[in-house]
């Protein structure tokens, strides 16, 4: 598997858009139909010097790092973890400048409450894959913190979950390389989409333009 170049990195958080609707993801990440350009927004983080000392907060057996920039050459993604907790664990890994062994657990903050679908999970799994690659370790648990219920939900992750996420990113890269905005099935979820006015989902079910013109000319 070839590693991706940094300039071809996709935005990790895009996996949420992609799961919601491929077309929405393409409009944002390929057509850049966004209030501001997401890549520039996060580019600042991605290019932060990797070896700068991280902002760490010690709480007993835990090291807490906020807004940790992460990336994966294998997936070709970059993003930011809201919080990563490093917990002392004999099975863990050593960290530069720290005593003892630690295991990292990403904690992703979400507005609202736990969702029925996997969209929140896949973003977390992508973060875990980045951490695995950057820290050379293996992870099987992450957390989603939901603001509405004010508590975190433990998310166990299996190898097949990880493979699933890798597959999604491969597909995203495929579209990105082709600069292709896929069509999508319009549905009730289109009403809640912020890009409704750019996408014009109802247009995809419209009759062909040629027949629209013909019918008008033959009035």
């Amino acid at each position: 598997m070839m590693d991706y170049n940094e300039e071809d990195f996709l935005l990790l958080s895009g996996i949420q858009h992609f799961n919601f609707c491929r077309r929405q993801w393409a409009l944002i990440h390929i057509e850049q139909q966004w209030e501001e350009n997401v890549r520039t927004l996060e580019g600042a983080y991605v290019h932060r010097v990797a070896d700068q000392p991280l902002l760490r907060e010690k709480r007993g057996e835990k090291l807490i790092v906020r807004a940790l920039p992460v990336h994966s050459k294998q997936l070709g993604v970059a993003g930011i973890c809201d919080v990563v907790e490093f917990v002392r664990d004999p099975e863990g890994i050593s960290l530069a400048g720290e005593e003892g062994l630690y295991l990292p657990f990403p904690v992703e903050y979400k507005r609202g409450k736990p969702k029925k679908d996997d969209s929140d999970r896949s973003q977390l799994i992508a973060q875990m894959l980045c951490l695995e690659e950057m820290l050379v370790c293996e992870l099987s648990v992450g957390y989603l913190y939901y603001d509405e219920i004010k508590q975190r939900v433990e998310v166990p992750v299996t190898p097949s979950d990880k493979e699933q996420v890798r597959k999604i990113f491969r597909e995203m890269h495929h579209y990105f390389q082709k600069n292709h905005t896929p069509k999508a099935k319009a549905g009730p979820h289109c009403q809640s989409c912020s890009l409704n006015q750019v996408c014009l989902p109802e247009m995809m079910n419209r009759k062909k333009v040629s027949s629209f013109i013909e019918s008008r000319l033959n009035e």
Binding site: Q197, L200, E202, V209, S210, L217
Partner: protein, 343 residues
């Protein structure tokens, strides 16, 4: 479809525009004439010559608010354009189409179909509304001929032929345009189009309305990420917003001509507001321009059902809707560019 926000027209001669927090401030010397929150605006058009602050220009560009400078007679001077958004892939495809005669013709012919269709129905409606005032037979001859031309245009793949057909149709439409003026005939009559400069009252009104439409069209094209200066029907010429002129063709009649006619026919304006200069150019006084702008703004608020999208939108968003449909065609979402066919 997005919401239509307001356009701020600044008609005071020496007004200076600046930014204060989230507001645009209009000043005359030291006196503040008005403050308007930026978040309610989608465009600012100023006829003043004092200018605007760079901070305001930046704020407008960042918020996608088009900022346009016009001379006091409404001639276009400049627009402020911020950093490019949209995406380069879309614009490159636009250039590829523009460089290819046949592909350009396929878009341009639909635009011309739109123009002829709309012209035809303006005339048809007049025969329905004023059968006692209008020479119906003469009108019907023109509309029948426009219908014929439309069907020919539909199959043309050559820009030269297309321009020829369009020219012929324009001559026919112009030949009966004067019949649509039903009031103040002694001061407002149409004897053919004169642009640089407009030589009579009607042409002065038309030129002004077309300038406003062109500004809206340019802003709409930029908003969807297309290059307003690279067209399909109008060929490149430095400084000419060819694509804006292309898409305007469909809307000249329904958007601008109809407004001009209603201003005259409803006696909202009168001949006192027009002055002839030594070189024969006719200019409007500030009051008349204000009347036109007021009517323009009111027209933009009116709601219609978009013929292709079947969506309720305001007239003011029609340029944006057409720009969006063109972008979606260029991206390959649509089989053809759907013109605005207004009945």
């Amino acid at each position: 479809m997005r919401k239509l926000l307001n356009t701020l027209f600044v008609t005071t001669q020496d007004a200076y525009l600046s930014l204060d927090g989230e507001n645009i401030v209009v000043k005359n010397e030291e006196e503040t004439l008005g403050r308007y929150p930026l978040h309610n605006l989608e465009a600012v058009c100023t006829f003043g010559y004092a200018g605007a602050s760079p901070a305001l220009m930046g704020a407008c560009a960042a918020r996608n608010i088009s900022l346009t400078f016009l001379t006091r007679n409404g001639r276009f001077l400049a627009r402020v354009i911020g950093e490019d958004r949209g995406n380069v892939v879309l614009r490159k495809e636009q250039y590829r189409i523009s460089d290819n005669e046949r592909r350009s013709a396929l878009v341009a012919r639909n635009i011309i179909v739109g123009k002829l269709y709309n012209s035809k129905w303006i005339l048809e409606r007049a025969t329905r509304d004023y059968p006692l005032r209008i020479d119906v037979d003469r009108m019907k001859r023109v509309t029948a001929s426009l219908s014929e031309t439309m069907k020919l245009v539909r199959n043309v793949e050559d820009l030269g032929i297309l321009r020829g057909l369009e020219g012929t149709a324009a001559v026919q439409y112009n030949s009966v345009f004067d019949d649509l003026i039903l009031q103040q005939k002694e001061h407002f009559s149409f004897r053919g189009r004169s642009k640089r400069p407009p030589l009579d009252n009607v042409n002065a009104l038309l030129s002004f309305a077309y300038t406003l439409l062109a500004n809206d069209m340019k802003a709409a094209l930029e908003a969807v990420g297309l290059d307003a200066y690279v067209g399909f029907l109008h060929r490149d010429r430095p400084g000419r917003a060819s694509l804006a002129l292309d898409l305007m063709e469909e809307l000249r009649g329904v958007y601008a001509d109809r407004l001009v006619l209603s201003l005259i026919n409803k006696r909202i304006i009168n001949s006192k507001g027009f002055h002839k200069k030594e070189n024969g150019a006719v200019i409007m006084d500030e009051d008349t321009r204000k009347q036109v702008l007021k009517a323009w703004q009111e027209r933009k608020q009116e709601k219609i059902i978009h013929p292709y999208l079947h969506e309720k939108i305001s007239w003011g968003l029609v340029p944006y809707a057409q720009a969006l449909l063109l972008a979606r065609f260029i991206r390959g979402d649509l089989d053809e560019y759907p013109p605005f066919l207004w009945k």
